[in-house]
């Protein structure tokens, strides 16, 4: 049975932990709002780009000599898996869910006899994947969006990928990240980046007035510029979703932690009071039995 003093110390320590988790929750909430706004603001660009690509790709796909970013290298032997996680922990199962999915994807590819390489974005993913797949790791990019995620961050990541692709290091690139649904629910998403998957739904939806465009300079010329840019945009979008998810997960985790600390304090306070009562009772009994003995 701990002494009264031990209880007091324990309660104080839990209370200060609670203060920290509460503060972290508030910070995460503020950052989440900012991340959501950013994700919203980035949407128009991605939409317009998708529309343009859809009308272009439909014309060019199937033609001989289509750009490799669109048509692929004709093989799928060498796979690159990009695992986007956060640099910091204390955000619930955010990183573990991504890593778990990444592991599943990697194992699946390995089982099919593919050559797999892994590019980690964010320290946490690297730390966890290093244990199982150390020889496959092709590199880590961290400090992405430390203060605020910018397009420059996305360029840094996607240019690295583009360089690897240009150097012929892989045939297919896939990114694993968490899509933001709400603060309590994030969906692990596996998305293929290279070659670009057919934007089929977009095309069907394109309203009846589907324009037949003129192209300047040429379809191929535009596509050659549009595709690398699209890679950046897709990466940017994944990173934005991830950033929002991270803050959402952290907010929920810290909210739970704060609540747990509250429960713990209640329990401890109750034990403390009971103990105090017992001590008083004991002292009374001692006094009374002492008086009786006289």
């Amino acid at each position: 049975m701990p002494s009264l003093k031990e209880y007091r110390l324990r309660i104080r320590s839990v209370r200060s932990t609670q203060k920290i988790t509460k503060a972290m929750k508030m910070v995460a909430a503020a950052k989440l709002r900012r991340a959501q706004e950013q994700a919203q603001a980035a949407r128009p660009y991605a939409e317009r780009m998708e529309r343009m690509l859809a009308s272009l790709a439909a014309n060019v796909r199937g033609m001989a000599g289509a750009p490799a970013l669109l048509a692929g290298t004709g093989a799928d032997k060498r796979q690159l898996v990009i695992v986007a996680t956060s640099d910091r922990g204390l955000c619930g199962s955010f990183n573990s869910t991504i890593v778990r999915e990444a592991r599943r994807v990697i194992r699946g590819l390995l089982a099919e006899g593919k050559d797999v390489r892994v590019l980690c974005v964010g320290r946490k993913g690297r730390d966890q994947l290093r244990r199982d797949f150390a020889p496959l790791l092709a590199g880590t990019i961290d400090e992405v969006g430390r203060k605020r995620l910018t397009f420059a961050d996305a360029i840094r990541v996607s240019d690295h990928v583009a360089q690897m692709f240009a150097a012929g290091e892989f045939d297919v690139a896939t990114v694993v990240y968490n899509r933001f649904k709400s603060a309590i629910s994030q969906i692990v998403t596996v998305q293929q980046l290279i070659p670009l998957p057919a934007p089929a739904e977009v095309e069907i939806k394109a309203d009846g007035a589907k324009a037949v465009y003129e192209f300047e300079p040429s379809e191929e010329g535009i596509l050659a510029e549009l595709l690398p840019l699209n890679l950046r945009v897709q990466m940017f979008r994944a990173l934005l979703e991830n950033a929002a998810s991270e803050q959402g997960a952290r907010m929920t985790a810290m909210d739970n932690a704060t609540r747990n600390a509250g429960d713990m304090i209640n329990g401890l306070t109750q034990s403390y009071n009971r103990q105090r009562q017992a001590v008083i009772t004991k002292e009374l009994i001692e006094i009374i039995s002492g008086a009786d003995a006289l």
């Binding site: 397009f151 037949v212 465009y213 192209f215 300047e216």
Partner: protein, 138 residues
């Protein structure tokens, strides 16, 4: 000439401008072109230069862009850019700083890929500078 065209300027991070205009002149990679209502559907790449928005016969605004894409369809012009800034906010020192930076990067670049991208940056900075000088006098 009836009607106006809807003009949208979008960067990856946000929607920069969304407005109506009589005409917008865009620096296409094959030459400048003006977009009026009823323009034929077109997708074009842009070179680094200046977009001019016309209203009632005069230029309402000039915006400097570093390149990108323009899409015209149904009296709507959408310009996708990576970087854009109103010409009025652009200063010579800024542009020269950019050019110097690009040249330094080119001098330091060792592998061919880095060299190529640095060369592109230098070209872009130079053409921005030229575009600036061109408009500074009018």
């Amino acid at each position: 000439m009836a009607g106006k065209i809807a003009f949208e300027l979008v960067s990856p991070e946000r929607l920069l401008e969304s407005s109506e205009a009589d005409m917008v002149v865009v620096p296409g990679s094959e030459g400048d072109f003006g977009v009026l209502p009823g323009h034929v559907p077109l997708i074009s790449t842009l070179r680094p230069g200046v977009i001019a928005i016309y209203d009632a016969g005069t230029v309402r605004q000039r915006i400097m862009v570093t390149g990108g894409f323009a899409e015209v369809s149904n009296d709507r012009l959408t310009v996708l850019v990576e970087e854009a800034m109103p010409l009025a906010d652009v200063s010579v020192t800024q542009l020269e700083g950019k050019l110097r930076q690009a040249q330094e990067a080119l001098a330091e670049a060792t592998d061919p890929a880095a060299r190529e991208s640095a060369e592109k940056q230098v070209l872009m900075a130079q053409s921005l500078r030229r575009a600036y000088d061109f408009y500074a006098t009018r």
